[in-house]
């Protein structure tokens, strides 16, 4: 059992190293980000404790995936298996528990502990097997997959737009628009298997442009209801709306270019830092987007002619 946790620790260190970070800095960065985001969440909303508990349980429930648990059952006998699962779940929820206690939310801490323990003794499928319909089936690739993984967020964004009009809060409406752009950005962070790039009878430039076109087209379709609604109710702020839309589009182009600039590896720390800096100062994208684009076309020459 001890060996299992040592192995998990080693695997985590390897992932951090692959990401371009020394493990010690990686852990410090994760800790700092966790504390920062937790403080931000509790500062922003009165529902933070509920969101917080849900996030923790969502992460912990990933450990209950049936295939993973079948493997653990093969490795450990009944008693040790349960112990491993309980330790895993408590480790996973520990940072959240400590923060809840720090915030003196004791009932929430107890609820989180109890549910984490129960989850430790259960295993289930964490993904649904039925086919989720998608309007993007004609060009199946990461957008189709990403949409199926996150489809429930888009109705939430539309509800936020509706609320923004009800309470006359244009900023909330803009937030809902940015949310629709933020989710597809996540679709393009993981590199696909080389076979799928190799399969395309396109030049590197044609390949990236095709990717960008698809992403912009599909994201625009998803954002259209929000744009039209906000245009109708806030036509005086149409300039802000158009600017937000354009920034969203440019970020999509940047992330796709950045993805293939590191291909076949995942984006590393330098790319992520550049994109993070650009969030605070979007004009930098005018420099970084062409940089990533040129790097990506060079990288793809290994697979596309």
């Amino acid at each position: 059992m001890k060996e299992y946790f040592i192995l998990q620790y080693k695997m985590t260190n390897r992932r951090l190293k692959d990401f371009g970070l020394e493990p010690i800095f990686g852990y410090l960065l994760i800790l700092a980000s966790f504390i920062g985001l937790s403080l931000f969440l509790f500062y922003k909303t009165e529902f933070a404790q509920y969101i917080y508990i849900l996030i923790s349980l969502a992460l912990t429930s990933k450990l209950s995936e049936i295939g993973r648990n079948d493997f653990l059952k093969l490795c450990f006998n009944g008693k040790h298996y349960k112990l491993v699962r309980i330790i895993e779940n408590l480790t996973s929820s520990m940072p959240f528990l400590i923060f809840l206690i720090y915030k003196q939310i004791f009932i929430g801490s107890v609820i989180l502990t109890v549910i984490s323990l129960i989850l430790g003794l259960s295993s289930f499928k964490t993904s649904l097997n039925f086919t989720i319909p998608t309007p993007f089936y004609k060009k199946p690739f990461e957008f189709t997959v990403g949409f199926r993984n996150t489809f429930f967020i888009f109705p939430i964004a539309y509800i936020l737009t509706f609320i923004s009009i009800s309470v006359d809060n244009f900023n909330l409406g803009i937030f809902s628009l940015l949310l629709v752009f933020l989710i597809p950005l996540g679709f393009y962070t993981k590199p696909e298997n080389e076979y799928f790039v190799w399969s395309f009878a396109l030049t590197p430039k044609q390949f990236i442009i095709e990717k960008i076109k698809t992403a912009l087209q599909f994201t625009s379709i998803l954002s259209l209801p929000i744009i039209l609604t906000l245009c109708f109710f806030y036509y005086k702020n149409i300039d802000v709306l158009i600017t937000s839309y354009i920034i969203g589009c440019v970020f999509l182009i940047t992330i796709i270019s950045a993805k293939y600039s590191a291909y076949p590896n995942e984006m590393n720390l330098p790319e992520i830092i550049i994109i993070a800096i650009s969030i605070f100062f979007p004009p930098l994208l005018l420099v970084f987007t062409p940089y990533f684009y040129i790097k990506a076309t060079n990288k793809l020459q290994e697979y596309l002619v």
């Binding site: 097997n129 189709t144 997959v145 298997n193 799928f196 009878a201 697979y303």
Partner: protein
């Protein structure tokens, strides 16, 4: 025609392919056999352009990769893409427009289910269907018969015969000798990155006997089974 000239491949300091020379002609089916690690998959990936190499690989149609249907031993599939969408993706990749994918589903696959939920054999059948619908001129099939049921293996054999009639170039690897002897015009034996033998159809049975003798030797005796 595909012409491989002095192909050499290293992984680090380990030489995997050593000065391979070979010509593949239209309307012929070639079998590549060899033990695990002999270099078959590496050779296929080099021809496909998925690995860099020393030497030359030329073809009538260029770039070769845009006319090549490549079936990998373990086809990779996205987690949330249906069988139909997988075929659509590979057809889109070659700008092939197919409106009636369902009617071309000769292996009766559940095309509207996520392909990641398919069994090993079903995944292979899906990949084969997709590369066939891409209308390729060249085919490399790495272990096409492995994990596939008997009925589909019969269909697979017939497909390969039809590809030959259509004047395509087909290169197959398989560990099941009978499947190769049924489909191939010639078989090449790869060992430690070198082609050590080429056998025409009329001498396949002789090759099988030789391979059996070389492979088994007295290894079973060493087990001292009781």
């Amino acid at each position: 025609m595909i012409k491989v000239i002095e192909l050499t491949k290293y992984f680090g300091t380990k030489q995997v392919l050593n000065n391979i020379n070979m010509t593949f002609l239209e309307g012929k089916v070639y079998g590549i056999v060899g033990e695990n690690g002999a270099g078959k998959t590496t050779l296929f990936k080099c021809i496909a352009g998925l690995e860099d190499y020393k030497g030359e690989i030329n073809s009538d149609l260029r770039p070769l990769k845009n006319h090549l249907g490549l079936l990998l031993t373990e086809p990779f599939l996205f987690s949330k893409i249906t069988g139909k969408e997988y075929i659509q993706l590979l057809c889109n990749a070659r700008k092939i427009k197919i409106d009636d994918i369902e009617s071309r589903n000769i292996f009766d696959l559940p095309l509207n289910q996520y392909a990641s939920t398919y069994s090993t054999g079903m995944k292979k059948k899906l990949s084969i269907t997709a590369i066939l619908l891409q209308v390729n001129k060249y085919f490399i099939l790495d272990e096409p018969f492995n994990g596939v049921d008997i009925q589909s293996n019969i269909i697979m054999t017939e497909i390969i015969h039809r590809l030959r009639e259509l004047n395509k170039i087909v290169i197959i690897s398989s560990h099941i000798f009978s499947t190769l002897s049924e489909t191939c015009d010639e078989i090449h034996l790869l060992k430690n990155g070198v082609f050590i033998k080429t056998v025409k159809k009329e001498k396949f049975s002789q090759l099988e006997t030789e391979m059996r003798e070389i492979t088994v030797e007295n290894k079973i005796e060493k087990l001292k089974l009781k």
